[in-house]
C-alpha cells in the first residue's frame, strides 16, 4: 500500500481504532457527515422552495378571502377564520357540490380503483413472471401500453369509445342487437362505473410493474421447498408469493391511490367542467372553485380537507403493512 497522504492517514488511524462491526452500524464517521450535509444543501433548498413553501402558502391561503381582486396583494388578503372550510363542507360559496360529497366520491373512486388494480396487476404479473411461451415477452410489453399512454391520450380514447350513439361501445351494442338506447356512461347514471372502469384500465399496469418486480425478488428455492412439502397453489401464494411482494405492492398501492385521488385530467376530459354529481371529485371541484369562480381560498380549503381525508387512512395502512402484522 502506498504511503497515504495526511488526510487519509487520519482516516485510517480512526479505522484501526474501531472494529469493522462498529463501522457498519455506526455508519459514517462524524467527520464524513459534513460533505454529505453540504451535498444535500441544493436539493434541500429546492425542496423547501418548490414543495414546502407552496404547501404552507396553500394552507395559509385557505384561511383567507382570496378572490381575483385580492390576488395581487395576496399577503394582505383579509382573514376569514374558518369560513372557507364551512363553505367547502356545506357546498356554499358557489360550489356545485359540497366538499364532503366530493371528498367521499374521490375516496370511494380512488380506493376502489386501486383495489381492483391490485387484483388485476398481480394476476397479470403472475401470468408472465416466467417465459412459458414465445408470447410471454410480447405480453410483458403489451401489458405496459395502457399505463405508458399519456393520460390525456387515453382519456380522449375512452371519451370517444363511450360517446353516446357514435362511440365504439354504442355502435357495437347496436350491431349485435344489445339495444339502441344511448349509454349513460358519460352523462348520467353510470358515470361512476365509467370513471372506475376507465381508470382501472389505465392504472393496473402500474401495479403490475411493482408486482413483477416483487416476484423477481423471491428466491426460487422457497417455491421448490413448498413443492416438496406438497403445498397447493393457494398455499404457495398465501405463504410465499404474497409475503414476498407485500411491501412493494403497498408502495405501489399508495402511489396509485394518490395518483387517482388527485387526477384532474381523466375526470375533466370524460365529464367536462360540470360533471354529474357521482363523479364530481375533489380535483375538478377545487379547480372549479379556483378557476371558474375565482375563490382561491375556498379551493385551498377543499384541498386541505382532501389531503387530511386521504393521508389518515394511508398512514394507518402503511403502519399496518410495515409493522409486519399483516404477514
Amino acid at each position: 500500500m502506498p504511503l497515504p497522504p495526511k488526510r487519509r492517514r487520519d482516516h485510517a488511524d480512526r479505522v484501526s481504532s474501531r472494529t469493522r462491526r462498529q463501522r457498519a452500524d455506526g455508519a459514517l464517521f462524524r467527520r464524513d457527515l459534513r460533505p454529505l450535509v453540504l451535498m444535500m444543501i441544493p436539493a434541500a433548498l429546492v425542496l423547501i422552495i418548490i414543495d414546502l413553501a407552496p404547501a404552507i402558502i396553500g394552507v395559509i391561503n385557505s384561511f383567507r378571502l382570496l378572490a381575483f381582486s385580492t390576488l395581487e396583494h395576496w399577503f394582505s388578503a383579509p382573514w376569514l377564520g374558518l369560513r372557507n372550510y364551512r363553505e367547502a363542507l356545506d357546498g356554499g360559496g358557489g360550489l356545485s357540490v359540497s366538499g364532503l360529497s366530493a371528498t367521499w366520491h374521490s375516496l370511494e373512486y380512488s380506493i376502489l380503483t386501486t383495489l381492483l388494480a391490485l387484483v388485476v396487476g398481480v394476476l397479470a404479473a403472475l401470468s408472465v413472471s416466467r417465459r412459458t411461451s414465445s408470447a410471454t415477452p410480447v405480453l410483458r410489453a403489451l401489458y405496459l401500453v395502457p399505463t405508458a399512454l399519456p393520460l390525456f391520450t387515453s382519456s380522449y380514447l375512452w371519451y370517444s369509445i363511450l360517446l353516446p350513439k357514435t362511440g365504439l361501445l354504442d355502435v357495437f351494442r347496436h350491431a349485435v342487437g344489445l339495444g339502441n338506447t344511448p349509454n349513460r356512461f358519460l352523462v348520467g347514471g353510470h358515470s361512476f362505473a365509467a370513471l372506475v372502469g376507465v381508470d382501472l384500465w389505465l392504472a393496473w399496469g402500474f401495479i403490475y410493474l411493482f408486482a413483477l418486480a416483487g416476484l423477481q425478488s423471491i428466491p426460487r428455492e422457497l417455491y421448490e421447498a413448498a413443492e416438496i412439502d406438497g403445498a397447493t397453489r393457494v398455499q404457495k401464494f398465501r405463504y410465499i408469493t404474497y409475503p414476498g411482494i407485500r411491501k412493494l405492492l403497498a408502495v405501489g398501492a399508495v402511489l396509485s391511490t394518490f395518483g387517482h385521488y388527485n387526477d384532474f385530467t381523466l375526470p375533466y376530459i370524460l365529464f367536462g367542467a360540470a360533471p354529474p354529481t357521482g363523479v364530481a371529485v375533489l380535483p375538478t371541484t377545487s379547480y372549479a372553485a379556483a378557476y371558474s369562480i375565482y375563490n382561491f381560498g375556498l379551493a385551498d380549503a377543499l384541498a386541505v380537507i382532501g389531503v387530511i381525508a386521504i393521508i389518515i387512512p394511508v398512514i394507518v395502512y402503511i403502519r399496518y403493512v410495515f409493522s409486519g402484522k399483516a404477514a
Partner: protein
C-alpha cells in the same frame, strides 16, 4: 419432471387460468388501442358518423395534423420541459436520496414519509402558490417567469423531486455502506465516491426515477394550461386546444385528433417499453430491505 418445472411464481396460476388471464388482458388492451389506431386513419366524416370500419384509409391525417394543430411545437416543448425536469429530478433526487439513506438523522422516517405524503397534495393546491411565488420573482427581478420553459419544468419538479428522492433513498438502503467506506479508503472524497461508486450501482433506480418524472409532465394538462405561455405550450395543451376548437363544429376532426394522439403517445410508449427491464430491476432493488 413436473416437480422441477413447478418451482416458481408462474405456476401459481394453473396453465388454463394463465391462458384465460393472458387472453382477457390482451384483448382489453388490443381492442381500445386498435380502435385508436383505426380511428386515426378513418376519414373525419366517418368518425363523426360512428363508422367503425372506414371505407378507405385516410393516412393523410398523419400529414395534415402537423398544420392543423400545434403538435410539432407542442412535442418539442414537452421534450424540452419534461427532459429538463426529469434531469433535474434525477440529479437532485439522487443526491438527496443518497444523503437521506446514509445519514441517520433524527426525524429521518418522518422526512421520508413527508416526501411520500407530498404526492397526496392536489395539483390545484400547489399551483396557485407556485404562481404567486413565480409572479413575485417576476415583479422583484423584472424577468419573465410565467410562460417560460423553466417555470413549467420547475412546476413538474414539485411533484417529481419528492418522489424521486424517496425512491432513491429506498434503493440506496440496499447498497452496502462498505462500498462508501471502500471508496473513501481509496482516497475518494464523499462526492467522488457518490459519483463514481454509488451512481453506477443505482442506474436502475435512476431509470425508474427519470421515467416517472418524465411521465408527470408529459401526461399533465392542468399545470401546463395555467403556467405555460403561447410559445411554450406542451403537447397536452396543443391537443386540448385543438379539441376545443372542434367541439360544436359541423364536422369535428376527431380522426385527425386521434392521429395526433397516437403520435404524441409514441415517444413515451417507446421510452417505457425500452426501459422496461431497468424499471423492473429498479423496483426490485428498492424492495430488498
Amino acid at each position: 419432471m413436473a416437480g422441477a418445472r413447478r418451482g416458481d411464481a408462474a405456476d401459481i396460476l394453473h396453465p388454463v387460468v394463465r391462458t384465460i388471464v393472458r387472453s382477457v388482458l390482451a384483448l382489453t388492451i388490443i381492442i381500445p388501442v386498435g380502435y385508436m389506431l383505426l380511428m386515426s386513419v378513418t376519414p373525419n366524416v366517418e368518425v363523426a358518423a360512428g363508422t367503425v370500419w372506414p371505407t378507405h384509409f385516410a393516412f393523410s391525417h398523419y400529414v395534415k395534423m402537423w398544420a392543423g394543430t400545434n403538435l410539432g411545437s407542442g412535442m418539442l416543448n414537452s421534450v424540452i420541459i419534461c427532459g429538463s425536469s426529469s434531469a433535474a429530478a434525477i440529479l437532485l433526487g439522487a443526491i438527496a436520496g443518497y444523503v437521506s439513506s446514509r445519514v441517520r438523522f433524527r426525524g429521518r422516517t418522518g422526512f421520508l414519509s413527508l416526501l411520500l405524503a407530498f404526492q397526496s397534495i392536489p395539483t390545484v393546491m400547489v399551483l396557485l402558490p407556485l404562481v404567486i411565488v413565480m409572479a413575485g420573482l417576476q415583479g422583484l427581478m423584472h424577468i419573465a417567469v410565467i410562460g417560460t420553459y423553466w417555470a413549467v419544468a420547475v412546476a413538474y419538479l414539485t411533484f417529481a423531486l419528492p418522489l424521486v428522492t424517496w425512491f432513491i433513498a429506498a434503493y440506496v438502503d440496499s447498497v452496502p455502506r462498505e462500498l462508501d467506506d471502500a471508496a473513501r479508503l481509496d482516497g475518494a472524497s464523499t462526492f467522488q465516491g457518490f459519483i463514481k461508486v454509488i451512481m453506477p450501482l443505482i442506474v436502475p433506480a435512476l431509470a425508474v426515477a427519470g421515467l416517472l418524472s418524465f411521465l408527470v409532465g408529459w401526461g399533465d394538462l392542468l399545470i401546463a394550461t395555467v403556467i405555460s405561455g403561447p410559445g411554450t405550450h406542451t403537447v397536452a395543451v396543443a391537443l386540448d386546444s385543438f379539441l376545443a376548437t372542434q367541439e360544436g363544429q359541423v364536422l369535428p376532426q376527431f380522426g385527425t385528433l386521434m392521429a395526433a394522439s397516437v403520435v404524441s403517445a409514441a415517444p413515451v410508449v417507446i421510452l417505457y417499453l425500452g426501459l422496461q427491464r431497468f424499471v423492473v430491476a429498479g423496483l426490485t432493488g428498492a424492495s430488498v430491505k
